[in-house]
């Protein structure tokens, strides 16, 4: 879906570094989400946001920080990356709570 874009698509960094993954949507959807996808675990929710300036923890929030100053952007920051955070990260958005979600293409993050 062209309406939600993630950047970068690929990122390699070292442990201890800070890294920010970007997510931008053009639908004016209220809800936005960050998931990580690891083999055998499916999609696990990291953080979500119901609207600008409203964020909340998901299933696996430790080590991550989010912000949502504008409706269309929802960046995810790893403040001090660890190897266990190597994963594929997906951003998604939806019109409302529990509604179908639209996913970005994902960011493949490797932490050495």
């Amino acid at each position: 879906d062209a309406g939600i874009t993630q950047s970068p698509r690929y990122k390699i960094t070292e442990t201890g570094r800070q890294v920010t993954l970007m997510c931008h949507q053009t639908w004016s959807h209220s809800y936005m989400f960050w998931y990580r996808q690891d083999l055998g675990h499916g999609l696990r929710l990291i953080y979500y946001s119901a609207a600008a300036d409203i964020t909340d923890k998901g299933e696996v929030p430790d080590g991550y920080v989010v912000s949502r100053s504008k409706t269309e952007n929802f960046p995810l920051t790893l403040e001090s990356a660890t190897r266990s955070q190597t994963s594929v990260y997906f951003c998604a958005s939806s019109l409302g709570q529990g509604q179908p979600q639209h996913f970005g293409d994902g960011t493949r993050l490797s932490i050495l």
């Binding site: 055998g40 499916g42 999609l43 929710l45 998901g58 709570q97 529990g98 996913f103």
Partner: protein, 111 residues
């Protein structure tokens, strides 16, 4: 806890054979959604079921929501190579804020 269990984890079928994946929850779901993720791609929404006992069809795909709203299934008739991918269910537990995704069923179709 609020989990959605999905089986099987993997399924290999010959092209033309049928395929079914199942989702189960220990608690009642307000709705259940199904997504498909092609290899190297992102999850794409397929369908949402809301009513008890609901059945919906999309061409060769049949989706069911259990009477107790705790389980669901996706059935593909006469699989094709274009059906390859991972199928996820995602359930919204009653009173919960967000969807819980199952671990997915990875479908391989052998031509």
């Amino acid at each position: 806890g609020q989990q959605v269990m999905q089986i099987p984890q993997y399924q290999h079928v010959q092209e033309g054979e049928d395929f079914t994946t199942y989702c189960n929850s220990s608690t009642t779901l307000s709705n259940i959604q199904w997504y498909k993720q092609r290899p190297g791609g992102h999850p794409v929404f397929l369908i949402q079921l809301v009513k008890s006992g609901e059945v919906k069809k999309q061409k060769r795909l049949t989706f069911q929501f259990g009477e107790a709203k705790k389980n669901s299934s996706l059935h593909i008739t006469a699989t094709q190579t274009t059906d390859v991918g991972t199928y996820f269910c995602a359930g919204l537990h009653t009173g919960a804020n967000n969807l819980f995704f199952g671990t997915g069923t990875r479908l391989t179709v052998i031509p």
